[in-house]
């Protein structure tokens, strides 16, 4: 992988005699790497450190002369914040549906696209993927129309089927299914990754299983799923982070109000309101760090479970 000192070469390039070629290569490496190193320091490490410090300060952008250490007031306020509970609850309720869907639907669609009985697979793949490309604003407003109680197409269909006209976007119980319908529409990316993983499963395994008389479900449980489990795991972690960061669709559809009854006041919307709308850097940072700790906690938990269900033994890069 690394260019180790090829002797012939070092003799053929006589310039810059002071440094060995290996040393030269190293310096060039750091030079080419520098954009990322600078970015990592300036946009990741320093800001993380800064937000940690901010979380102990009374710091509002509007009052630049009034910054002081406020004796953990931000952390104490976490317990009193009347909207933090609803924000956590909304995110949790949403996650209860969204997390399973974010794994099941892509696997299901990928299995469908991977079926040898599907005619015109590339066309289906392109069209299933396409909604992922739609800008989130367009997606939100188009679905706002489709889910409209009276004129929306979904309710027109349901009404014809005798299922009434559910009030998707204004009913506290229906808002999470509604948001998840919108979410499932953009499942294309995860689907494509799962599909590629499925196509990477060696066909010999399937043939062997068929010879042994395994049926479709057993083959999926014993071969397909274990073989694609690293990819499923990767998607699961991204979904968890995605749920904590869930913002755009509810923010656009409800203009950030949290209606109905704070049901769409998701954690990140609450954070946005504190950190960016009110420009409260102190409490905003506290909320951001709380999110970070929760997301990391769940990620670490998932990593701990990985050895029971994620299969890394196939010799592929793990």
């Amino acid at each position: 992988m690394e260019i180790t000192q090829p002797k012939v070469v070092s003799q053929s390039i006589p310039k810059q005699r002071g440094l060995s070629l290996y040393r030269q290569q190293q310096i060039w490496g750091w030079i080419f790497l520098s954009p990322w190193i600078i970015g990592l320091v300036c946009f990741t490490i320093l800001p993380m450190f800064a937000s940690f410090v901010f979380s102990f300060l009374n710091f509002k952008l509007a009052e630049p002369n009034n910054i002081y250490f406020n004796d953990f007031a931000n952390y104490k306020y976490l317990a009193q914040d009347p909207l933090l509970g609803p924000a956590l609850m909304s995110t949790f309720k949403f996650a209860l549906i969204a997390l399973p869907l974010s794994i099941i639907i892509p696997i299901g669609l990928a299995a469908l696209l991977n079926s040898k009985y599907l005619i015109g697979r590339p066309i289906f793949r392109t069209l299933f993927y396409m909604p992922y490309i739609v800008p989130v604003v367009s997606s939100a407003y188009i679905w706002g129309g489709v889910l409209n109680t009276d004129s929306g197409w979904l309710n027109r269909i349901l009404f014809e089927l005798g299922l009434g006209k559910p009030n998707w976007l204004f009913d506290v119980n229906l808002i999470y299914p509604a948001l998840n319908i919108i979410g499932v529409w953009g499942v294309g990316n995860a689907m494509l990754i799962m599909l590629a993983a499925m196509q990477g499963v060696p066909t010999e395994l399937y043939e062997a299983a068929r010879v042994d008389g395994a049926n479709g479900l057993t083959i999926f449980r014993r071969i397909t799923f274990p073989m694609i489990s690293p990819v499923v795991f990767y998607n699961l972690i991204l979904s968890v982070i995605g749920i904590f960061r869930y913002f755009e669709i509810p923010f656009i559809l409800k203009e950030g109000t949290g209606d109905p009854g704070n049901a769409t006041l998701f954690y990140n919307i609450h954070l946005y309101k504190n950190a960016f709308a009110q420009q409260n850097m102190g409490y905003g940072s506290t909320l951001a760090w709380l999110m970070f700790v929760m997301a990391m906690g769940i990620t670490l938990f998932l990593f701990a479970t990985a050895r029971y269900w994620v299969y890394y033994g196939s010799g592929e890069k793990a």
């Binding site: 690394e2 260019i3 180790t4 090829p6 070469v9 290569q25 190293q26 060039w28 490496g29 080419f32 790497l33 990322w36 970015g39 990592l40 300036c42 946009f43 990741t44 800001p47 993380m48 800064a50 901010f54 669609l109 469908l112 696209l113 005619i119 069209l127 299933f128 993927y129 396409m130 909604p131 490309i133 739609v134 800008p135 989130v136 604003v137 367009s138 407003y141 188009i142 129309g145 197409w153 529409w185 990316n189 494509l192 990754i193 590629a196 993983a197 690293p230 990819v231 990767y234 998607n235 972690i237 982070i241 904590f244 960061r245 913002f247 946005y272 850097m281 905003g284 951001a288 970070f292």
Partner: protein, 367 residues
């Protein structure tokens, strides 16, 4: 004896063909079931697009009439009034297009109709006129609505598109320069602790960006960059994990012999990157460029926080929402504006899907 042989061969041929015939039938059934099932799901996926296009094709009266498709009820102008036209079944068994002159409630009401060809004579029809089929004509107002949206006075769509394009292209240049450079470093140079550094790079993918965003926002606000495009462009000049990963994976597959040959010819590392690595990597570089264009085109959160109150600098993602605060009650214009918003990324995707999907697969599967 001969008949016996004949008999056996029929049985044999029966045995030979029948399972295959049955198998083929079963296969055909599988093909049609699976494909039909996929078609039904596909209809669900395409329904929102259809809804947007159909709604954007309607005129205001068509929206108000509440029909699914953009049909306009036809009318007949008589004595200064627009009378609705209906297909009226007449007692003699024929159906005639008549204009409702005086329509009454009830199932057995005596409704007065007139014949548009002979308006002086009133025709009485008994029954519930609401059950009659109205005469409707499909009228598509798509281009008209696009025109209204494009030239509306509240939000300037041409400027918003220009802004989006400028932000996306400037950021793309930054992404390409920085990510190619960093990927080249990871793929070709003997950097100490390279493995650990690469692991840090990849793990930034799962770092929730909110934890870095608050102070970054504070910093940009302090140095006066909020209200400009700089926070949306400059950070892209410092590489990102996805694209570096994608490029590095590709660079690793390129044969090193060409690098070494160029080196022997006296090419320095920069020269090797420009004239050996990049020309061989054009497909993956196109992928990265497209990723960034689509990402920047669709980005909503960053312009939202950094361009607050700067109407003339807004990209389409945030600007389109301003438009809809004004036109909220006009679904046909709203959906037209949404189609304007999605057409560029969707077209980029459809034309370059090969590059796009390959990139997704490499970053998604190989990690």
């Amino acid at each position: 004896m001969a008949t016996h042989v004949q008999h056996r061969s029929t049985i044999e041929s029966y045995i030979n063909t029948s399972p295959f015939y049955g198998l083929q039938l079963k296969k055909l059934a599988m093909y049609s079931t699976v494909t039909l099932f996929a078609c039904i799901i596909l209809m669900g996926f395409l329904m929102p697009f259809a809804y947007a296009v159909v709604t954007a094709s309607k005129s205001e009266p068509q929206i108000k009439s509440g029909t699914v498709l953009p049909y306009t009820p036809q009318t007949f102008r008589y004595e200064g009034k627009d009378l609705p036209l209906y297909e009226v079944p007449l007692p003699d068994g024929t159906t005639q297009v008549l204009a409702g002159l005086n329509l009454k409630r009830g199932d057995n009401a005596k409704n007065e109709f007139i014949d548009p060809d002979n308006p002086s004579e009133v025709i009485i029809w008994e029954g519930n006129w609401r059950k009659l089929k109205a005469v409707e004509v499909l009228e598509i107002h798509l281009l008209e609505n696009f025109d209204t949206v494009w030239n509306n006075r509240q939000t300037n769509f041409p400027v918003m598109l220009r802004n989006t394009f400028a932000i996306a292209v400037l950021g793309m240049i930054g992404t390409l320069l920085s990510c190619i450079s960093v990927a080249y470093a990871f793929a070709r140079f003997p950097i100490p602790r390279k493995r650990a550094l690469f692991l840090i790079l990849v793990s930034t993918i799962i770092l929730p960006s909110q934890v870095t965003l608050v102070p970054t926002f504070g910093f940009f606000a302090t140095i006066g960059w909020t209200g400009t495009w700089l926070p949306l462009i400059v950070p892209h000049f410092f590489a990102n994990a996805y694209n570096v990963f994608l490029l590095r994976q590709y660079f690793l597959t390129l044969p090193k012999e060409l690098d070494e040959a160029a080196m022997i010819d006296g090419a320095g590392p920069f020269r090797i990157l420009v004239s050996v690595i990049i020309p061989q990597s054009l497909p993956v570089i196109v992928s990265v460029a497209i990723f960034h264009l689509v990402f920047a085109w669709n980005d909503y959160f960053m312009p939202l926080i950094y361009l607050l109150g700067k109407e003339d600098l807004l990209p389409i993602s945030v600007g389109i929402q301003r438009f809809n605060f004004v036109y909220d009650m006009k679904p046909h214009l709203l959906q037209s504006s949404m189609l304007i918003g999605l057409i560029v990324p969707v077209l980029i995707f459809l034309f370059a899907q090969r590059f796009f999907m390959r990139g997704v697969v490499i970053t998604g599967v190989e990690k």
